[in-house]
């Protein structure tokens, strides 16, 4: 039996009808057409499908759409305003934090919560903080730099190195 759910998606309330077995990531990509959220592994491992559910970073391939009833979700499409990059996106751009970009939306959503909980993380805390997100391209070093850049920018201190590493 289908269920009718109410979900706030990137600030806009939506009423949707879903099958109980519909995964949240499929609702986001196929019903809402927000294809910035990616499916990398479909086995809860890679983090490409990471979104915020009531502000917490979660893997949307391992949550049912019906579980989002009454909650709010934020996807990569919902983090910048008026076409301006937010500090995390800017950090990725400035520090070459992406190559193919497949992992990037999930990374950025995870980092959004990381920096909210810990605005000034150490490199080690960043590495533990993104341990649920796999990147097959960058070797992570430039992603760590992107987070340090975003952290500095959000705290209003001079931004960290913008010299990307090419490995």
């Amino acid at each position: 039996m289908n269920k009718v759910i109410t979900v706030t998606v990137n600030g806009v309330q939506q009423v949707l009808e879903v099958e109980p077995r519909t995964l949240l990531v499929h609702m986001i990509r196929e019903i809402l057409n927000l294809t910035g959220t990616h499916i990398g592994c479909d086995t809860s491992s890679c983090g490409a499908c990471t979104i915020l559910l009531d502000g917490k970073s979660v893997k949307s391939c391992t949550i049912l759409a019906v579980q989002a009833n009454g909650k709010s979700i934020t996807t990569i499409e919902g983090i910048s305003t008026e076409g301006e990059l937010n500090p995390i996106q800017e950090g990725f751009k400035e520090n070459h934090g992406l190559h193919c970009g497949f992992c990037t939306p999930g990374m950025i959503m995870r980092i959004t919560e990381l920096l909210k909980d810990n605005p000034d993380p150490t490199e080690e805390e960043i590495r533990w903080g993104i341990s649920g997100n796999l990147c097959r391209c960058t070797g992570y070093n430039n992603i760590v730099k992107a987070v340090l850049y975003a952290s500095a920018k959000m705290r209003g201190v001079p931004t960290a190195s913008t010299e990307p590493e090419f490995v």
């Binding site: 109980p20 519909t22 893997k59 649920g132």
Partner: protein, 290 residues
């Protein structure tokens, strides 16, 4: 991968949840964090006809101390356990273990109740609960009952919970002064299940004699294993390298690991010995305030 069709129920009270369990019998499953169950449903290893989501039931998520017992509500998420000051104060082992369970996103969803109720020897909390001498509270239509952790795990994915019971709380005795605890697991990469894991809690007196000890082993036996002979090798004895070596040897002999992608049986036994040594030492150092 999409699960087989099922009916979804989200009761608002415990009574409703238990009534639904009784009505649907073996066709129903509880949904907590969903981070063991949903992956299994996607692979069609689990095909429940009814999913009873208990996340909407208030009052199942808390961590508090009452009369010498720490009580953890079953729906407490790993992330909450990781950051609880109360748990940090009494049980440094929780900081050790939660950091090693999966990754931050999984820890935002996975619950301690689900981690135990899943009955998987690869999960990390069972061994920790053995070391801490925990008790599990199960609630059914007739009320609640206490199940000592040593009577909780039965076999592969089976526990002492009856079909119509919900795991509602975990109780852990607050240990006396001079107690320390520690957990570590060997993993191939961050977030992996253990190749082998060892949990230790011990109490020492002023002379370095072990007054109480619990040792639990992760993923080296069909069900979570208490290392009984290792505990006996240290209980009432001075914690010195000779006794620790004996405890390590007993644990490596008494576990029953199977060879798999994570390593051969021999390798796992060797790693159990290494981890028992290290965790006993670490727990003892913490007990003595070092």
């Amino acid at each position: 991968m999409i699960p087989q069709s099922f009916q979804y129920e989200s009761p608002g009270t415990m009574a409703d949840a238990i009534a639904l369990l009784e009505k649907h019998g073996d066709e129903a499953k509880i949904l907590s964090g969903g981070h063991s169950l949903i992956p299994m449903m996607k692979l069609r290893f689990a095909t429940p006809e009814y999913l009873i989501d208990i996340n909407g039931i208030p009052g199942l998520s808390y961590i508090r101390e009452e009369k010498g017992t720490v009580k953890i509500g079953a729906l407490s998420r790993e992330a909450e356990i990781e950051h609880s000051d109360l748990l940090k104060k009494h049980f440094p082992i929780f900081a050790d273990v939660t950091k090693l369970i999966a990754d931050p996103q999984v820890r935002n969803r996975g619950t301690i109740g689900g981690n135990l109720a899943h009955g998987d020897a690869a999960n990390d909390h069972p061994a920790v609960m053995m070391a801490l001498q925990a008790t599990v509270i199960a609630t059914g239509s007739g009320g609640s009952r206490s199940i000592p952790i040593d009577e909780f795990f039965f076999g592969f994915y089976t526990t002492a919970l009856k079909q119509n019971e919900i795991l509602t709380e975990i109780q852990i005795p607050v240990p006396p002064a001079g107690t320390g605890s520690a957990y570590h697991k060997l993993e191939r990469k961050v977030g992996d299940y253990a190749t082998a894991g060892v949990a230790v809690q011990l109490t020492v007196d002023g002379k370095g004699v072990c007054k109480a000890i619990g040792i639990g082993l992760t993923n080296v036996n069909p069900i979570p294993l208490r290392a009984v002979r290792s505990e006996q090798a240290l209980l009432g004895k001075v914690i010195n390298s000779e006794n620790i070596a004996l405890a390590a040897q007993f644990a490596s002999e008494d576990c029953n690991p199977s060879a798999d992608l994570r390593g051969s049986e021999e390798y796992k036994r060797a790693m159990v010995a290494v981890l028992v040594k290290r965790m006993v030492l670490k727990a003892a150092e913490r007990a003595m305030g070092k």
